[in-house]
């Protein structure tokens, strides 16, 4: 068993996840009630129910995966992963949720990027959780959320960016400190507990990387730096 974090940290993450699950479950319950009250089930937005249920399940699965990767080292298989194609998959999965939140998804994956060393399931779950959290937590209408990858001298950077006010390192550290202890750890960024962001951070920590504040073109967000897979450099 790896000792990356304390049990207190795990309880705070669990609390944060539980807090975040209130919203999708409330949407599902109220949607069904709306149809029952009006005596017309055609009023029920079944697409909204399906999307909210999927979000809730993704959050729970990602949370469990994060704990598994942290504590069961045998699960943590690092393999060469193509970030660009993974971002295409993630964008596809976020699409219906983004529509519900009147947000346009944009992919910036142009360029040739060598594969990175990562746990495939873990990286996908982290990016999905981050995407869901930022879509749900940032209540501006008609904005654009960008999934992007770019190269820096330190490695391949991939993240999720939006038309947010600049998120500073200080705000990010404060949010990490407040995780599970405050109702709104990200006062400027999200209306919820931000559980998806903390789950993404947990998964990335298990892969010995982390989330950090990032900027891509004119958008701000959260990103992680991954190392190229040396195994495939010459392929």
């Amino acid at each position: 068993m790896q000792a990356h974090r304390s049990q207190v940290g795990d309880i705070e993450l669990l609390r944060s996840v539980a807090e975040q699950l209130k919203t999708p479950l409330a949407v599902i319950a109220r949607q069904v009630e709306l149809g029952e009250l009006a005596g017309d089930m055609r009023l029920v937005d079944t697409a909204a129910i399906r999307t909210q249920a999927t979000t809730a399940l993704t959050l729970v699965e990602s949370y469990l995966l994060g704990l598994q990767l942290l504590y069961e080292q045998t699960e943590l298989i690092l393999e060469p992963v193509s970030v660009s194609s993974m971002l295409v998959d993630v964008a596809h999965e976020l699409e219906s949720f983004a529509r519900q939140y009147n947000t346009r998804l944009e992919l910036r994956i142009a360029g040739r990027y060598e594969p990175v060393m990562a746990n495939h399931r873990g990286l996908k779950a982290a990016l999905l959780s981050l995407g869901y959290a930022l879509l749900e937590g940032y209540p501006l209408q008609n904005h654009t959320l960008t999934l992007a990858v770019h190269r820096t001298p330190h490695g391949i950077v991939t993240g999720v960016y939006g038309d947010y006010e600049k998120l500073t390192n200080k705000q990010w550290r404060r949010a990490l400190d407040l995780q599970g202890r405050a109702q709104q750890p990200f006062a400027a960024l999200t209306s919820g507990s931000g559980a998806g962001i903390f789950v993404a951070q947990t998964i990335l920590q298990a892969m010995t990387t982390r989330l950090r504040v990032g900027k891509h073109l004119n958008q701000h967000g959260l990103a992680t730096t991954l190392q190229s897979s040396q195994q495939l450099q010459f392929v």
Binding site: E33, L43, D45
Partner: protein
Amino acid sequence: MANILLLEPDNALANVYVKALEQAGHNIACCVAAEEALSVLDDFMPHVVVMELQLTGHNGIEFLHELRSYPDSQNIPVIVNTNLAPAALRPLLEVLDRDLGVRACLYKPRTTLQRLMRIIAEQARG
């Protein structure tokens, strides 16, 4: 039929409330943030405000202080419908009730549409 200002930061949940309120015959102005709600007040005078306390930017308490600072919105009934657990809400109850004139505080995950609609109708009737 009443004018309802709904301040709900979650878009998916707001959609359900708007549909239910429209079904009940009300006019709705729906906002996701306090600043937006305050600017809506220039053109839309609500009979009832239904709001979450956890908002981005200015929080719900700040919004209520500002709402109560305008002469024409000092007496509008406000219903708080929040994700804040009752234990977390308890220390705020006195301020909400005495200083900010909040008529009802509801725990959103446990508040059915039926109950919310009933309380809105009661408050709209005065």
